[in-house]
């Protein structure tokens, strides 16, 4: 067998492998539902918020930027003024029952039916997640909070609690007329 025939044979096999892989890639892509999430950190816990509901992130300059409101549930820290718009400020850790602490330096503004602000320690990353890789929750989320969580996702060997913003806004606590 000549070198020319050998090369043709090898090229044919490579082409076949590439075709198979391309076909496989298409199938995998078709099966995947990829969503983009913003990973936020609050007091050493990580949460994922779907990017389509994220409106704005800014630095908190003064702790008095959050004005406490008495006689409200513990997860509601108060309100904040964002360019003349008064927004409710929610402690995400307290809402899910995973942490009471709020160590915040940034404010994350989200919007579904209306806007809500989440004070957070930091913004970790923006990542794409195949939603089939979201696992059931093993973290210590309480019964009330579990309603607002899609599940867990492992990222950089750390657990991220994925927030279900649609369920949160349609819950009895957050639904408004």
């Amino acid at each position: 067998m000549s070198n020319y025939e050998n090369n043709n044979d090898t090229l044919g096999k490579i082409k076949e492998i590439i075709d198979k892989k391309q076909k496989l890639d298409v199938e995998i892509t078709a099966d995947k539902i990829i969503k983009e999430y913003c990973i936020i950190e609050n007091s050493q816990l990580l949460f994922g918020i779907q990017l389509e509901y994220l409106r704005e992130v800014y630095d908190i300059r003064n702790k008095n930027d959050i004005i406490p409101i008495p006689f409200t549930p513990p997860f509601l820290i108060g309100v904040t003024n964002v360019r003349g718009e008064i927004l409710p400020v929610v402690n995400i850790g307290k809402l899910l029952g995973v942490s009471d602490v709020v160590d915040y330096h940034k404010m994350v503004i989200t919007e579904v039916e209306y806007k809500i602000a989440f004070p957070v320690t930091s913004i970790e990353d923006l990542i794409q997640i195949d939603i089939s890789s979201i696992q059931p929750i093993y973290a210590n989320v309480n019964e009330e909070g579990i309603r607002f969580v899609n599940g867990e996702f492992i990222w950089n060997e750390q657990k991220i609690l994925i927030i279900d913003m649609l369920r949160l806004f349609s819950s009895s606590e957050f639904r408004v007329e």
Binding site: N64, I69, P70, E173
Partner: protein
Amino acid sequence: MFNNAIPQDKIEFLVFYDEGFKFGIDLEEVGTISMITKQSEDHDRFVRELKEAGILYELSSLFDKLRNNPKHFYLTIKKNKSPDIFIAIDEIEGVITFSLKDILLVPPLIKKLQKPFLVWGFGQRQEELIILLTLKNLEGGSYASNKL
């Protein structure tokens, strides 16, 4: 004849400071303003009597501030159906008139979850926000004293 009445789309607020925040309350809700020298026998007796009657509120405790410094000023809030209540505050600034269109109302979520309804909006003046309160919904009695 000169008409001193405030137009209906405007509200006069008594503006005061407490624990770093600035508050405003509709003047119509305010009865008397008492000023008592702190750390005096009169002050201690006055506060003790109000506490025993369960009609003293300290805004700092309502707003989750741990400091419970003695206060200089005590406002009487007029109540129609229950005994008048007193609120203890640090300092009075004066009276400000806000047009209703300049008042930022609390979001519907706060309106829904705040029970009793206390903070209803914010008056914006230059860079600062004045927290607008209504104390009509606060009751005297055991509830008030439990808060202290």
